[in-house]
């Protein structure tokens, strides 16, 4: 049974208050949210294996800090969708604004459209699949996890990258400091195949269509010769 909430008549605070009370085994496992009207922090901070479907465009930080839940946005998402998510699945059926999946620690974020600047900034273990293209400065200082892009990447991709993997199928406008293209090894391909499978596109997209970008590891420790790159 699906619980219906209309945000034209309920506040986001009241909705999130109800969602935060849910625990594993709840008898309200499915939620349908209408009229989000770009409001902020919808379905942020969930901590239960429930499915929340939002019909319309959402504002900032939708599904932020998500744990265990599946959050599906039937529309576009504002700044910081799924920021700092820990586990579960967040799917945006439209485009995502800046900083999608920023600092995410685990789970899977799928963006069916494009993501703008700073997608996956400071990524810490979350896997992100963007079916369209990503904007400039994406994966800045990304530490762990994978950013998989079926389209193109904007300027300064992977600037000051740590150990995250960036897979891009299309073109890359430019690479950021210390980010380099490398030949994928078996382990990299295993990671990529796993992410594609979890996103449900393993049959449509082949792992050999992607180029891999990783850290050159020259900025890990301060070295005076690198001063200009900091």
């Amino acid at each position: 049974m699906t619980t219906h909430i209309d945000l034209a008549h309920t506040t986001v605070r009241a909705l999130n208050g109800e969602l935060h009370l849910l625990a594993a085994g709840t008898n309200q496992p499915a939620w349908r949210i209408e009229n989000p009207q770009g409001k902020h922090a919808i379905a942020a901070g969930l901590d239960a294996p429930v499915t929340v479907e939002i019909h319309g465009h959402v504002g900032y930080y939708c599904a932020g800090m998500n744990k265990h839940a599946t959050v599906i946005v039937h529309g576009n998402a504002g700044v910081g969708v799924a920021e700092n998510m820990m586990s579960g699945l967040v799917r945006v059926n439209g485009d995502a604004s800046q900083s999608a999946g920023s600092s995410g620690r685990g789970g899977l974020l799928v963006i069916e459209g494009n993501a703008s600047a700073r997608c996956g900034i400071s990524l810490k273990g979350l896997d992100i699949v963007v079916k369209g293209s990503i904007g400039p400065m994406s994966a800045f200082m990304a530490q762990a996890g994978a950013l998989v892009v079926l389209g193109d990447a904007g300027e300064h991709l992977g600037d000051s990258l740590y150990e995250a993997r960036i897979f891009v199928r299309g073109t890359v406008k430019s690479l950021g400091a210390d980010c380099v293209e490398t030949e994928p090894e078996e382990e990299d391909l295993t990671v990529l195949k796993d992410v594609l499978a979890r996103a449900g596109i393993a049959d449509d997209v082949h792992s050999d269509e992607f180029r891999l970008y990783r850290s050159a590891r020259t900025l890990y420790h301060f070295h005076v010769d690198n001063a200009g790159a900091y």
Binding site: Q37, G38, H57, D95, S97, Q98, S116, A117, G135, P136
Partner: protein, 298 residues
Amino acid sequence: MCGIVGLFLKTRSLQPQLGAMVAPMLAIMGDRGPDSAGFAVYGQPRDRRIKFTVRLTDPHAAGALAEALEAFPGEPASIMLRASHAVIAIPDTAQDHLRTLLRQFDPHIQLVSAGRRMEIYKEVGRPEIVADLFGLSDMGGTHAVGHTRMATESSVTTKGAHPFSTAIDQCLVHNGSLSNHNAVRRMLEREGLSFETENDSEVAAGYLTWRLREGLSLREALEASLKDLDGFYTFLVGTEKGFAVLRDPIACKPAVMAETDDYVAFGSEYRALAGLPGIEHARAFEPEPGIVYAWEHA
């Protein structure tokens, strides 16, 4: 923080509703800028007339100002009061005369805007209250820009509220902060421009005025500002024919746009656009950093 909104109507039949469409956009962006608000509305020009919007030091002096204008030579001046502001329409050729008359009437009177099409209104206070005060919902026109302010660079005064206008039918609203505005202001003052405030956004408006005066197109002027203005910003610039948008090269400040067959709408957040008619089928997109976007009426 600050909030920006803009609406450019493509469909003529919507023009009477311009203000009614923009007022709720401004009110929603009150969350981003609660301390003051302002807006510029562009209407149809009247033959060889120019409108000055002035803010009266004392609203009770409106009667005396109307009386002083009766002595205006030639074609008569008209005056319309809206709360603390008065819109004075005069023949195009009598601008200097009006400026002198206003200075004599009250040396502290604030000239908010001058335009064939543009009227600017701004005040300190919650945006929805400011919009109500001036009756924005009843205003018609072709396009409008608005701003809700959270002051960072200069004090919370009416003069510090946006839009800033430094030339006829031109205005600018700004979300962000410029770091080299003092140096640019000094340069512009040497070029003959004068400024009313210590505000960084007024410098950006003056910079564009200067570039346009030097012969650049609005697009070229904005592209030049990418090099000359340092800081973070989203600019929305109103002109006689339309508006233009520019975000700084790393897009520090948010911006979202939506286009339908009827209008082009701009908001700092999608929330500002959520109430517009047909928005669910609009093409929504974010302007890319460092790229000028412009819409103009033919």
